[in-house]
Symmetry: C2
Subunit: 146 residues, 2 copies
């Protein structure tokens, strides 16, 4: 834990300064997570990260650190596009899925129409069949009388 | 244009330094786009942006600047999640669309089975109908002879 003579946090260790009880980094960058701090320091700079954290309510600082670490990792992996590459990829995936969904809905509508048509044809044939059965019954009865 | 005594770029203007012909920012942050540079400077720091641009091949620097400006704008709009908010939103949208697509495919399969079943029933009724028509024709012929 930071300050009061304990192990300095990853930030104070890297920046070689005394880690006080008020250190804004200490709760989010413990000494054993040196790489995590090195990453955000490399991309955003410790001073900017400190300012950004101080502008955020304490209850949301852990989330802010997570998102900064995520962005920094993405920028180190892809120096040109950073996490914007993930956004582009996801936007393409959304467009592709929306197109596939529109096609699937069109197929469903076409099948529903075919089914409706098939059922109407079925009813027509069934009615004709019943009428024929009736006629046949009459003919049989007639042939019995003659 | 920067350097050679011309108007300094947005970066050199903000940082109050002489804009030379070698200025790494000048091609991407012209004097009239002060706000664009102020944003990346606020989030990443001019020194980090300069380092990041120098690590990227010249042909990809314009793309790198665009993505840095995008990330910086997102961070200023949402200091807790930055552009990670867009990633989360898009990931949720992808999950939702994948679920809707799975449902649509299941509906399509069910309709195809119903249609197949309906067609088989239709054929059965049609065959019975034709058989009946034949029987009726025979009966009529018989009644003509009797």
């Amino acid at each position: 834990m930071a300050g009061s003579g304990g192990t300095p946090c990853a930030s104070c260790k890297l920046l070689r300064r005394r880690c006080t009880a008020e250190c804004v980094f200490a709760p989010y960058f413990p000494a054993e997570e040196a790489q995590r701090f090195a990453m955000v320091h490399r991309v955003f700079g410790a001073s900017n990260v400190s300012k950004m954290l101080q502008e955020v309510p304490a209850a949301q600082r852990a989330d802010a650190v997570s998102s900064l670490v995520y962005e920094a990792n993405a920028r180190v992996r892809d120096p040109v596009y950073g996490c914007v590459a993930a956004i582009s990829f996801l936007q393409q995936q959304v467009s592709h899925l929306q197109m596939q969904l529109a096609l699937a809905h069109a197929e469903t509508s076409a099948l529903q129409l075919q089914l409706q048509d098939e059922r109407q044809q079925h009813i027509l044939v069934q009615n004709a069949h019943h009428q024929l059965m009736l006629q046949e019954a009459c003919l049989k009865q007639e042939s019995m009388w003659t």
